[in-house]
Symmetry: C2
């Protein structure tokens, strides 16, 4: 008898109290996705990340034995959702560490507003760079008569020539369908929207037409598509102002935490389309919220600019990213021509085109190029090191003459990956830490001041620096074994440090950092540091030649610079050389919308950036091994840290 | 009780023996459209043309009294399909004159093949004009390695630069989705399709990519969309040859015979979309037949060029043609930028764009501009008169220095409209006629040599000339009343001439030409002739200055020149100055596909053509009235005809 597709099992998700009916044998993670219930799944359901832990409260699940769960957790009822099949009506609970907390994406810290896009519009105007590619022109056209009955399009073209000296325009086909009505609605007074971006020597393009004078109402969107978070910034082109911004988690998170798991997911049947729709839905949702908040109709948006890493860019355009993952790591396209946004599923007017920032290589994407554009290093004489830390730390070195770049496979440690109690910078994450060198007792604060759930990346850096400065941790990443404190104890894989006891934590278990965790962090920081050195060395320069260090990215904004230098993640250069630019990717996308010159030259900047594959670059491996120490095996790279640690 | 939508009435159409079920009260013409049964409907169902006559054989129809049918016809069972509602199961017969006969579209005549497109490809090559905008280039690219892992697109661009010196290309977005796979399928050997048309200074555009070397297989389509007939020509761009052509009636015929009824139909709810789909379906059907016949896959087509009158162009692109019909007769757009063909519903590969020839005004369309391009008059020094006769006769006068053009509302007389037994040039149409001046007895031949159904336009010209030369008809368009022949008899509106008796005809009734019919023909020819004179006069020239007359269009190809001059439709100039170019519109579309230079300059030629609204041009009305005579009131315009008629 064929089994059919009978939805006869009920699955209830707590704490949401959402129930869905599924087929017998349905995968539990899939059931959660269908229910709209979010469970972390870093690996896209491969079962290797162990992030999708749920607690079985009632009923029966069919689960394999070879999961990443400890026997204790198993006995408590923990299961990996992606590995289990539903075999009866069940009730499951999503534990705090598997929940995403949205509020903290846009958190403020230490009283300083984190601006996602520190664009200085006034400065842009002073420099003469405020010159949006998309502009509106008001026209009073002579009405048609029997002795002057040229086609409506020619009348519009003649008006643009006569009133604004514009000639040889190209045009959006769809305009031809709107012309006749728009021109007659307000007695041949119209506002034309034009695109002046001279990409590849194209002539100005007629984009849209409205009846009457609408020149005062003209908006654009700038978008940063991060692997984790999507930012949308609403721009007033008529006034040259940022109206507002909003963010949400990238809807693709349900299919994998990092670019590699997304690429793997894209290779499944229908996977590429699913991922494409997921990110488009996120952009749509965030945009709708922004427009509603600012009471603007979507019709007044004329274009959208996007910056994203190479994989995110491929997925946005539904270009197969397969070869990004496979040696020799060739993206299909590092630049994509303007495309009608509605063609990609974006809920924007038909005449809106989407422009994206060019990428350099598989792992140096448009987000980095956008940051380079936003920080202006491509036109400065100062030798600059530009750093964006994440799962893949990206580095750019250079100035107006040349730019070299590379990606470091730092691994997900700074995003909480591979760290037992690592988590994103969300509610309940330990962020600020100090440790009493005498007693080994910690003091810490969590985001939103709630019971700790885990430790976020900046918290890990701070903890590591505190343990190192307190001489509780040795430069080799091992805990001292001669301290009289219950905080340090033996674990299965070495020693571990108890940051919070079970009764103090959200999960009700001890919050610890193990030597294994620290090893992972050291690998990550070593990869970054070896990356800087190799890149600087490959162009015949020394670390001390760097005149300016720019830290980009959300993580870069939250980092405690002194602590990051202490553990050897950041170079030990005079502190005044460091600058934080926040979300450089979003800033770059915004600049493209505000400045025709930048929209025109973004590809030139991308083409100017020489990509280094570090794994193929002589010396990188030696540098990496030398950096597997706190702060570094070569003390002269870290003079101030060495001095302080010795003094301490 | 709501009536619901119950299909409980059977309608059987004879002679096809097709039965459909319809709702009670359904319109009979609509039932025929649903059944796929074609009935002529010149007026789009307005009830004013009287062309959709059917014969009710069984059952009940609810019909109004105020139809165009005579009482006799009504008693015989004739009804106007567009005016009737189905009230019982019925059987109706479509009489011969309401059928369309497809075979004769591509008829051959007098042993001479009518080439739809007399393009001299060899001559084009000799002139250096054979240079298609779309070209394929074969590339052997170096495979990607870890030390050379630029994106696939950059690799392709580098190859095109290195092997062919091509730089600064733009590209079709969709290509980015195909690149990775295509490049790896045959070890980085690929064929790129490029578009070199520099319209509005655009750089060459990368259009498509195939694995391996496919340069030998490259095709295009050229299309002429006539109000009545759609021609498609299949072109081999690799060899520079015309592969073949095919035609079919424009599917829009079911919604009206002429451009005005189509425009009216387009104003109905959903009408524009219906008409757009109808013509696209026709192009798809003809193209599929052509490809099947020549065993070519559609994937090898790279672009499509189209020429059509202004209304047909608007309808193809679903641009509202409303103002073409309303004073001051302004089209929405006389030029439409290239559009993705699939966007319009054409069954062609996604990368195929459609290019259309620019129009000049509401009634001088892209078909005429295409004819001007094909005939080359825009680059000749000879003063030329270009004539395309149809419902709207279009006229162009000029040379390489200047071009003036106008449309004459000749009315549908030359297409059989407004003539009681007028019909299209189809099976059973009287074509060649002579009349014995002594007896008044005619001799005639029909197309396909079957019993006469009616008289086509060229037949009417020949009949009129014969009657005039036989002195049976006076120069004022009245039959002589002193002839002893039953062929001439009184009718309700004057006299009429019986060309065939009831027992000789397909319909079983006398086939006659009335003085009213002749008046309509005289109006039509007068409008044309007054048009030439006015246009020539408006540029300060005389008829005798014309060094060349080009007759275009299917009708122009079938016309007997001497007879057309005799009745005053064509000017009485030395016969060697006349040339027939056949379907100039299709020729022009073909040239655009074969020659990048022409594709680039077609809009320049359209812009060069100054449009005259004859109704607004001083002198036209006087000229028109002066021409309402056979051949003309001013004999000196027709010296050879006058001489011959006197001699006769």
């Amino acid at each position: 008898m064929p089994s059919g597709s009978i939805l006869n099992k009920k699955v209830t998700f707590q704490p949401y109290d959402i129930t869905v009916e599924v087929e017998d044998g349905e995968n539990l993670l899939k059931a959660a996705l269908n229910a709209g219930v979010h469970i972390n799944a870093s690996c896209g359901g491969e079962g290797v990340c162990g992030k999708c832990r749920i607690l079985l409260e009632e009923g029966t699940l069919e689960c394999p034995d070879n999961t990443l769960l400890s026997q204790d957790d198993w006995n408590l009822g923990y299961r990996q959702a992606c590995q289990c099949r539903v075999r009866s009506d069940i009730v499951v609970r999503i534990p705090p560490e598997s929940l995403l907390d949205k509020k903290t994406i846009t958190r403020r810290r230490s009283g300083i507003s984190l601006r996602p896009s520190p664009i200085n519009v006034a400065g842009l105007k002073e420099e003469g760079l405020y010159n949006p590619a998309f502009q509106k022109k008001f026209l009073k056209l002579p009405p048609a008569t029997l002795t002057d009955n040229v086609c409506d399009l020619s009348r519009l073209e003649q008006g643009l020539n006569k009133q604004y000296g514009l000639k040889n325009l190209t045009l959006d086909f769809l305009l031809t369908r709107k012309l006749a009505k728009a021109m007659r609605q307000d007695d041949f007074q119209v506002t034309a929207t034009l695109d002046f971006a001279q990409r590849r020597s194209r002539n100005p393009r007629l984009v849209d037409i409205d009846p009457g004078d609408t020149t005062g109402r003209h908006y654009a969107l700038a978008v940063d598509i991060g692997t984790t978070t999507v930012w949308v910034q609403l721009l007033d082109l008529a006034k040259g102002e940022i109206v507002g911004h909003a963010a949400d988690y990238n809807g693709q998170l349900s299919y994998g935490d990092d670019v590699i798991s997304r690429i793997l997911y894209s290779q499944k049947e229908g996977g590429l389309e699913t991922l494409q729709k997921a990110v488009v839905n996120t952009i749509n949702k965030v945009t709708q919220g922004l427009l509603k908040q600012h009471k603007l109709p979507v019709e007044e948006i004329s274009h959208i600019t996007v910056a994203a890493n190479t994989t995110m860019t491929h997925l946005l355009y539904a270009i197969d990213p397969k070869n990004i993952r496979l040696a020799p790591y060739t993206p299909a396209a590092c630049h994509v021509p303007p495309v009608r946004a509605s063609h990609l599923g974006l809920d924007l007017p038909k005449h809106v085109f989407i422009y994206s920032v060019s990428s350099v290589s598989s792992y140096v994407g448009g987000d980095i190029v956008a940051g380079v554009l936003a920080s202006g290093i491509y036109k400065e004489s100062k030798l600059t090191l530009y750093i964006d830390i994440g799962t893949n730390g990206e580095i750019v070195v250079g100035n107006q003459e040349w730019l070299a770049c590379a990606a470091c496979s730092a691994g997900p440690a700074f995003e909480g990956g591979g760290i037992r109690y690592g988590m994103r910078a969300a509610r309940g994450a330990v962020e600020d830490v100090s440790v009493n060198p005498q007693t080994g007792e910690p003091m810490f604060m969590t985001i939103d001041r709630v019971k700790p759930k885990g430790i976020c990346g900046s918290g890990l850096i701070n903890l590591l620096a505190a343990l190192l400065e307190g001489n509780i941790l040795g430069p080799n990443g091992r805990f001292r074994d001669d301290l009289d404190t219950p905080r340090i104890r033996a674990s299965e894989t070495g020693r571990e440090y108890v940051l919070a006891w079970a009764d103090e934590t959200a999960s009700g278990e001890d919050l610890v950092v193990s030597e294994e965790d620290i090893e992972n962090l050291m690998r990550a920081k070593a990869a970054m540091f070896a990356g800087y050195l190799t890149l600087i060395d490959s162009v015949g320069l020394k670390l001390q030649d760097i005149e300016q260090v720019i830290l980009a990215g959300a993580f870069g904004s939250f980092i405690n610079l002194e602590n990051a230098i202490t553990i050897g993640l950041m170079p030990d250069l005079p502190r005044e050389r460091f600058h934080f630019v926040g979300n450089g990717s979003l800033s770059g996308a915004t600049l493209l919308a505000f400045s025709r010159e930048l929209l025109e030259e973004e590809r030139r900047v991308a083409d100017m950036m020489t990509n280094f594959e570090l794994s193929e670059t002589p010396g990188f491996m030696d540098q990496y091994i030398a950096a597997l120490f706190l702060p570094h095996t070569q003390e002269d790279y870290f003079p101030t840290v060495t001095e302080r640690l010795r003094a301490g």
